[in-house]
């Protein structure tokens, strides 16, 4: 038992109220959004009974299907490329003696977490405009490259955490048992690193999937992703269709984050 004299924030006046308020603000809007996705009527504010109608409408909406596929393609490729780069970066920054400038390199890798997204977005917009003139290429590649770039730190952090917690004597033991550096990596480091890599991959995937700012700035005509399409819809008539898409989106995110949580728990 905690002694009654130790400081406990839980016993301060108003703690319960503030906590409750935070949870209400966080979850009531989301709960409302999900509830109205099942509305039988065309309003997002007046309840007219339960129905799957808007889910069916969304499923039959060619644009939603098209933008969803595009989102998944971009997120999948960006997550895989970013995780590969992040894995190499994490190995290079942990499997070495600490040297001057290592903190600078951490900052360098994590730059997308610190630079405002709108700045990165505009920078990419201008840079890609120049590249487009030079090459004439206007495909999906720009979005994929942009997403890869800002996904790297999200993939990097869990992989680095996993590497730092890994017992270095395991790799030493492998070397002692006649494993060359490459075999040590393949047989010991990589298998133990997998949970971190998967976690990084999923995090990068989710981050890419719901990006709006950079996508909005970088995309060419007809390259809407699901989030930018939804944003566009909000400017016109709003129906519970948007609630239905959001709810599915939410479900996918919850599934991925839950998997991420369990993979992280397995490491310890």
């Amino acid at each position: 038992m905690v002694s009654s004299r130790t400081f406990s924030v839980k016993r301060q006046t108003g703690f319960g109220t503030i906590a409750l308020l935070c949870f209400v603000l966080l979850y009531v809007p989301i709960a409302t959004l999900v509830a109205y996705s099942f509305n039988a009527g065309p309003s997002i504010a007046i309840w007219e009974g339960f129905s799957w109608r808007w889910y069916i409408a969304a499923w039959n909406n060619q644009q939603i299907v098209e933008t969803s596929v595009r989102s998944f393609v971009i997120a999948s490729i960006a997550a895989v490329v970013a995780t590969t780069a992040a894995t190499m970066a994490a190995l290079a920054t942990t499997r070495t003696r600490p040297y001057r400038g290592l903190n600078f390199i951490y900052g360098f890798i994590n730059q997308p977490l610190m630079v405002p997204e709108i700045v990165t977005g505009i920078a990419l917009l201008i840079f890609f405009a120049i590249v487009k003139i030079w090459t004439g290429y206007t495909g999906l590649g720009y979005l994929i490259v942009a997403h890869t770039a800002f996904c790297i730190p999200f993939a990097y952090l869990p992989i680095r955490a996993r590497l730092e917690n890994m017992d270095l004597t395991l790799e030493r033991a492998a070397a002692d048992l006649y494993a060359t550096p490459w075999m040590t990596f393949r047989k010991v480091t990589l298998p133990l690193l997998w949970p971190g890599i998967i976690a990084g991959l999923m995090l990068a995937f989710v981050v890419s999937l719901d990006d709006v700012v950079i996508t909005e700035l970088v995309k060419s005509g007809g390259q809407d992703t699901l989030p930018t399409y939804m944003l566009g819809q909000l400017r016109r008539v709003v129906t519970p269709e948007i609630n239905a898409i959001s709810s599915v989106f939410l479900l996918i995110s919850i599934v991925i984050v839950t998997l991420f949580f369990f993979l992280n728990r397995k490491q310890t």
Binding site: D167, R172, A174, A175, L177, Y178, T180, K187, V188, P191
Partner: protein, 369 residues
């Protein structure tokens, strides 16, 4: 044991003028300073010393996890100092075992042979043989996280022995085990060394472990080897104050050398008696010297004889199997006598009683420093 008295054995490991410096400039630490040691084929050799004495550094240099700043490390005559660890026919049992957590017991044991590219049938046969050797046959397909600390220890041993290393290095492998298990493993290690005939180099800071298991011990301090010898040599005939202090309890007495004959010297103790004391190899004692006497090599007397040291009992500490008498000698210093508790013995002694201390035959040794 047939191995004893087989004369000169081949040397398995030779360290020649080995120094290891960590860091540079003002921060430089000399972890090993010009160390020379020869470890013979087939022996159980222990590097003993407190933490920071350089014992683990020397082990790491032999394993190849670090490279010497100066000097050579020879394995059966060949300089291996520049070779990476995976090219040395030497295996290590790590302090924390370092078992691969994503592999089964069998996969761990077979890892070295697999890396050496041995055929699968041979690896399987060797795994079975090793499991039998460490008495773990029934745990073959367990994950290493599903077995106890003592069992992990055995797997670590089996894994290191499986590739038939020329030398096995053991880095304080018993320190994580509880007392009872440690005692069992000491006997187990001795048996394994005997059965496999592999040279064991064992690192520990535990003097008792060193004395019970080793053929020879090297006592280390501050990057130097102070004394190399059999457990009996080290315990009964310590050459230096550090060695005497580090291993067991010791009494130090000051005296003057009266005469030297062969490996013995006659010393007139400041405490008022004369003793015959052994001389360490290569030492030439003169003038003022310090001698050491182990507490159990002296006897306490209620009626002191003519050549006994006189004093009074300050304290009596009862240990069950034996009793320690703390005696203040008339000349000043303190002296501890350990006496085994035979039935009824020692009961006549009381604190404050005047007593005599008799130093046994061959009990005293002259220190070099």
């Amino acid at each position: 044991m047939g191995r004893a008295g087989s004369g000169e054995r081949r040397s398995a490991i030779e360290a020649i003028g080995v120094s290891k410096v960590f860091g540079n400039g003002d921060d430089a630490v000399r972890a090993l300073d010009n160390v020379d040691v020869t470890i013979r084929e087939n022996e159980f050799f222990t590097l003993l010393g407190p933490s920071g004495c350089g014992k683990t550094t020397l082990l790491r240099l032999i394993a190849g996890f670090d490279f010497p700043t100066e000097g050579e490390i020879r394995l059966y005559g060949e300089d291996i100092a520049p070779l990476p660890p995976f090219k040395r026919p030497v295996n290590t049992v790590f302090q924390n075992y370092a078992l691969f957590p994503h592999m089964t017991v069998a996969q761990n044991i077979g890892f070295g042979l697999e890396m050496l590219g041995k055929p699968k049938a041979e690896i399987d046969a060797r795994i079975s043989e090793m499991l039998k050797l460490v008495r773990m046959e029934e745990l073959r397909n367990r994950r290493t996280s599903q077995i106890s600390g003592g069992q992990q220890q055995r797997v670590a041993l089996a894994r290191a022995l499986a590739p038939r290393p020329k030398v096995l290095l053991l880095d304080e492998p018993l320190s994580a085990l509880d007392f009872k298990l440690r005692k069992d493993m000491q006997i187990e290690l001795k048996r394994l060394q005997h059965e496999t005939g592999i040279t064991f180099i064992f690192v520990t800071h535990d003097q008792e472990e060193a004395l019970t298991m080793s053929d020879r011990i090297a006592v280390m301090s501050k990057g130097h080897i102070l004394q190399i010898g059999s457990p009996r040599d080290i315990y009964d005939r310590p050459a230096e104050r550090f060695v005497a202090n580090f291993i067991g309890d010791t009494n130090f007495l000051e005296g003057q050398v009266k005469e030297v004959h062969g490996s013995k010297a006659r010393i007139a103790l400041n405490a008022g008696a004369e003793v015959e004391a052994g001389i360490s190899e290569g030492a030439n004692p003169q003038g003022n010297v310090t001698i050491v006497v182990r507490p159990e090599h002296a006897a306490i007397q209620a009626r002191p004889g003519a050549d006994a040291l006189k004093g009074t009992i300050e304290n009596i500490v009862y240990f069950g199997t034996d009793t320690h008498f703390h005696i203040k000698l008339a000349s000043g210093p303190h002296f501890i006598v350990r006496q085994q508790n035979r039935h009824g013995a020692g009961e006549e002694f009381k604190t404050g009683m005047p007593v005599g201390v008799e130093i046994g035959q061959n009990a005293a040794q002259v220190l070099k420093d």
